[in-house]
Symmetry: C2
Subunit: 430 residues, 2 copies
């Protein structure tokens, strides 16, 4: 079945700004609370949010095999479990409904009142219930920078890195949508030169610029996913800020990996952009530097050209863009990550999320974390208001954005925006 | 409210063998499929399974604030979310219903036919939907053994171990109940002396003898749980076999921790024994060897005296008991684990599971893994059938059991029993 929703010549009867991330060729999926306090699954064209639950009740998805309540849910998990064929039918149908040539909904004022919302009338929610979340470490520039900073510049990449899409299990319960504030975490750290740890607020709170993909039900326990089939199980992508406390991480992470340094919060953009919508932006991706084992050998274009940027906004000041990177720098692809994740028979379910790892580019202005941008604090960044940053200060807001652009069509992710609050105070917060 | 269900003098009108793990003082919770293919929440006394959904419909829980369908569910998550007061009311009521002095159900043949099942009429399921699973590393003997085997006998414990209940995030999707077979995982390993990894079946499949506790909804994002309140959020415990592939682990785990070496399967016993039922078996626990930070300082008896054993059963042979350990060896308690886990504000939800880490005792016959028992293969174990084991062979079954005993009352966990099948074969399994 062709992806007619991607037709670049199509225009919508809904207004779309020239630089919008959400033209009619995007059609992402999300979950929102409406002005009537109803939770529904929806999509977005330009600055208009569209209630898919209402659209379905009005019969606009007739002929597509969907249960009656598939969009009247507080997560996308069930819809994602319906599989790629259904996602594609729905996305193509939405493109038809909002096509400038189609007057059915366009000319039905009553239906439009039920279905369409201004962005200020809705509140975006976490789009999926995330069963398991895995974070990879797949940018060679990031792995090299971290290895140089923390271990040995001569052997910055560990011996397994070019053979394995290195990853680890993360915490699902602290994944939050854009707009939810986060408290600076407390924990144990080992001061330089000390033998005993101290307790207190992390002094080195950092972001990590990542993207994450959301999967559908893929395999049973014991059954690996062949690499050629892996993308069939990827629903779509979001922007991902993997908040990190570097001082907590340094003290805790040997030998079992990052734990509390990461699990205090991880933020995602609320609209899931489908892999189908990103199809026109495929690129070859980096050439392997070492021969990869057969189960990781992927044919065709394995990467995606997605421009990424990070901005930092001090309280009461304008934001400063501090990094420009790109998803195309990923050494290991999403299909390779998924094939590796399941080679031992680990089951993948609808709503699982896999983070890319920090996406650093080759130049210092394309690094994906403060750790790298300020080179562990040696090179502070100057903000628009004249203040300097080595890591993230209380009441700073971190904003990540991403978009693809080609031949005049732009498919974007919107943003993930999170404010860092001071340490939680039990008395004050009661 | 007192825990009248724990009254050691109470007898049930249901038959209970002298050495049963499930006297009327236990009253664990589980989920099972009945002979009529209905999923329900239940408990067990002796060898009789009790359908709590049916019992509730018949009015036996009158006066306890429970929704009508609280036991007619395929997981315990909602019941657990009701909180400790409700668990205690329900457990006390069950003890009353089945008390030898109470004739109400005992004398109602029709009700008994609806509510009671023989064990061979039911099929135990995973008792909770596990949102997040964390595995700790809290046995000092195990951490010392592993440090000695893999790193430096002189500095076997890493510098953070006596300060932090070290833990890491694990994979929820591959947690299975007792009785589900597991395939030997495949993956990358680095042969001794080689520079490049090879692909194939793991040659060093191992068990880890652990226990795990299940939590209820505890805190919001950002809000730590004080150590004195931590046990309020623990519903109960299960036996836990944290399957491990040592050769895969060795090659993958630096720097981000164990991943595919663990995520192919983890098995739990199906009956959750409540913390209330274990109350009589509290012990002081090991004395801290170093002063602990204030948020980890716990008053009172922090451990539990739970006898544990592991048996290995080759195909077509009798089992051999290969280890006898005890939960009392845990250096870090469950309350300390939970206080540490949330000190950064990480939210804990109903149905989350926390593994203890391998529970090794001080003597070689009390070690909790083949790695330690066979001392990395140097000292093979001899089975009853004369065969030897360094690690687990295809078609071996690993069985773990656990129970408390004091003053003639025995509270047990039953068993977690898992067979290791050969590597998954896509053609054969289709």
């Amino acid at each position: 079945m062709s992806i007619t929703a991607n037709n670049p010549d199509r225009k919508s009867w809904l207004h779309v700004d020239k630089n919008s991330d959400f033209p009619i060729q995007n059609i992402p999926f999300g979950v929102f609370l409406t002005r009537d306090d109803i939770i529904t699954i929806g999509t977005r064209i330009g600055d208009t949010a569209i209630d898919l639950g209402a659209l379905h009740q009005l019969g606009y998805f007739e002929g597509i095999p969907l249960t009656d309540d598939i969009f009247l849910q507080d997560t996308l998990n069930d819809f994602i479990a319906d599989g790629r064929k259904t996602w594609r039918l729905v996305r193509n149908r939405i493109a038809d409904i909002f096509d400038n040539e189609n007057g059915t909904l366009k000319n039905n004022i009553q239906h439009k009142e039920t279905v369409l919302f201004r962005l200020d009338e809705i509140e975006m929610q976490l789009p999926v219930q995330i069963g398991d979340y895995t974070d990879f470490y797949s940018s060679i520039e990031h792995a090299t920078n971290v290895g140089t900073l923390f271990r040995d510049p001569e052997n910055a990449l560990l011996p397994n890195w070019l053979h394995i899409p290195v990853g680890y299990h993360g915490r699902s319960s602290s994944i939050i949508p854009s707009g939810i504030d986060v408290h600076r975490p407390q924990g144990q750290t080992l001061p330089a030169g000390a033998n005993e740890p101290v307790f207190g607020p992390s002094k080195l709170v950092d972001f990590e610029l990542e993207m994450a993909f959301i999967t559908t039900d893929a395999n049973d326990l014991g059954e690996p996913i062949p690499i050629d089939e892996a993308e069939e199980y990827i629903f779509g992508l979001v922007l991902f800020n993997d908040w990190s406390a570097r001082d907590i991480q340094k003290w805790e992470y040997v030998p079992l990996g990052p734990f509390l340094a990461k699990s205090f919060a991880s933020s995602i953009s609320p609209w899931i952009v489908t892999l189908d919508a990103l199809e026109p932006y495929r690129i070859q991706g980096p050439k392997p530097l070492k021969k990869q084992l057969e189960y990781l050998q992927q044919k065709g274009k394995k990467g995606f050209d997605i421009n990424l940027e990070v901005a930092l906004q001090p309280e009461k000041a304008k934001e400063t863009v501090i990094s420009k990177s790109n998803f195309k720098y990923m050494y290991w692809s999403m299909a390779q990550q998924l094939a590796h994740h399941t080679i031992n028979g680990c089951p993948i379910n609808s709503g699982d999320m896999m983070g890319s790892g920090t996406i650093s580019g080759p130049t210092p202005d394309s690094y994906g974390s403060m750790l790298e941008l300020s080179w562990r604090g040696e090179k502070p960044l100057t903000m628009n208001d004249g203040t300097e940053r080595k890591f993230i200060n209380d009441n700073d807001t971190v904003i990540m954005r991403g978009y693809c652009e080609k031949d005049g069509t732009r498919i974007g992710f919107g943003e993930v925006k999170t404010k860092l609050l001071p340490v939680f105070n039990a008395k004050k917060n009661k």
